[in-house]
């Protein structure tokens, strides 16, 4: 019997369920290690060497080095765990969240100040809201000349 996963038809959203959690176990546990100052220092001194100590996939390691949070989430990362990498680099949660939209920090902050992203067109895959795949990346980065 298949499990009920009604949340797979929402654009720009990965729900961290047991399946994702299994994929991302070591990636997320690596993130947990960054709660200790000594580990943060070692990670910052040589990211590659520190990541090699963890039985993660090469793709997961690369996503961490690239700070590609969308990729890291696809590979089983959870945002609350991944946030610890951001904290280690001195990034705020807003900077991390914004980085996943393609918008610049200024653009993302302005969107939040203006009341945030609308749910209109962003509830189901296939609608025409700004979070849909065909509108990525967002902001100036997505402008065609």
């Amino acid at each position: 019997m298949a499990l009920d996963k009604p949340y797979q038809d929402i654009p720009g959203t990965i729900i961290f369920d047991a399946e994702q959690s299994r994929k991302g176990y070591w990636l997320n546990q690596f993130c947990m290690s960054l709660m200790q100052p000594d580990n943060r220092a070692r990670f910052k001194a040589d990211q590659r060497a520190y990541l090699n100590e963890w039985p993660m996939t090469e793709e997961q390691r690369q996503a961490v080095i690239d700070m590609d949070l969308n990729r890291a989430m696809q590979l089983g990362g959870n945002i609350y765990f991944l946030a610890k990498i951001g904290s280690t680099h001195g990034l705020s949660f807003q900077q991390m969240a914004g980085s996943m939209t393609g918008m610049s920090e200024v653009e993302y902050r302005a969107m939040m100040m203006a009341g945030g992203r609308s749910a209109e067109g962003n509830r189901y895959l296939g609608e025409d809201g700004d979070a849909q795949a065909h509108h990525q990346p967002q902001g100036q980065a997505g402008k065609k000349d």
Partner: protein, 297 residues
């Protein structure tokens, strides 16, 4: 006997804690948010509880993927503010209430809720930011929080998280547990997290002011109907992290106007809740901040 007299609901955004810790509360960005808690800080002084039962979620701090309890009750004497990756918040340690917490654990488990009992854990912004918002800035050494706190952590990180209905029913069981404690204690129950926010993916930054406020209206006036809101509605309408709102239903379910079961309908009908304060503000970082204080009549 011990009695729950009020419930407090608030978002627990980490940036709010950082703004307080770094003295930024009077900056233009933050001022309107903190103004929404001026009433609440005075109310806390005028209605000082003996114990706060604080429902929150741990954000991959005390619980990694090694252990994921759905409901965890803290029965320790003391909890240290956690280092979440940028050093611990400079706030006082949190004193627990091991006697009442153990009593509630015993009673609630006998009411068929299988709680995890925690005697050692650090507490993250999910717990300390609501305390800061309601009690104001506190020196980590010279000051103390106004009363003991029982931390109650809910898994809203890994799906499936408990349903709103399950949380609401748990709130009823917590009220029953508190009311079976002999000592006269004034207990507040707090539900924290939410409101609409999404911290991930191309849909990051989602805010749904209309949905949030309609949900709040219903949670106040018809909590049983609100409890039936399915998970998917929270995710679709209020963002992937908006699911934290199920925790508010634990606090709401513990109020006296909610019947425990069919035998309790008359008693519950004799009660109502009074809205003492309601506040809503966008944005705090990525999040819509909602805040509510209810008192039992």
């Amino acid at each position: 006997m011990a009695k729950i007299t009020a419930s407090v609901f608030t978002s627990h955004v980490p940036a709010i804690g950082a703004a307080m810790d770094l003295g930024k509360t009077q900056e233009d960005y933050w001022k309107p948010l903190f103004a929404g808690y001026d009433f609440s800080k005075q109310w806390m002084k005028d209605n000082k509880p003996d114990v706060i039962f604080l429902v929150y979620n741990d954000h991959a701090t005390a619980f990694s993927l090694d252990l994921i309890p759905t409901f965890a009750i803290g029965t320790a004497a003391e909890y240290t503010p956690a280092d979440e990756g940028f050093g611990p918040r400079p706030v006082p340690k949190v004193q627990g209430h091991p006697l009442l917490a153990s009593h509630i654990a015993h009673s609630v488990i006998q009411q068929d809720f299988d709680l995890t009992i925690v005697n050692k854990m650090d507490v993250d912004h999910g717990l300390t930011v609501p305390l800061s918002l309601m009690c104001g800035e506190k020196d980590p050494v010279k000051d103390a929080w106004p009363c003991p706190v029982i931390p109650f952590a809910v898994n809203v990180v890994q799906y499936p998280v408990p349903s709103g209905q399950r949380c609401f029913n748990l709130g009823k069981a917590i009220r029953k547990a508190v009311e079976s404690y002999d000592e006269d204690l004034n207990v507040h129950i707090w539900g924290t997290g939410g409101m609409s926010h999404q911290l991930q993916g191309a849909r990051a930054g989602l805010i749904n002011r209309a949905w949030d406020n309609a949900w709040l209206d219903q949670m106040i006036a018809d909590p049983a109907a609100c409890a039936a809101t399915p998970h998917i509605d929270y995710v679709r309408e209020a963002g992937s992290e908006g699911i934290e709102l199920v925790m508010w239903l634990i606090a709401r379910g513990a109020m006296s106007d909610v019947p425990y079961d069919a035998t309790d309908l008359e008693a519950a009908r004799a009660h109502s809740v009074r809205v003492k304060h309601r506040f809503y503000h966008v944005p705090a970082s990525n999040t819509a901040v909602g805040h509510l204080i209810l008192e039992n009549n």
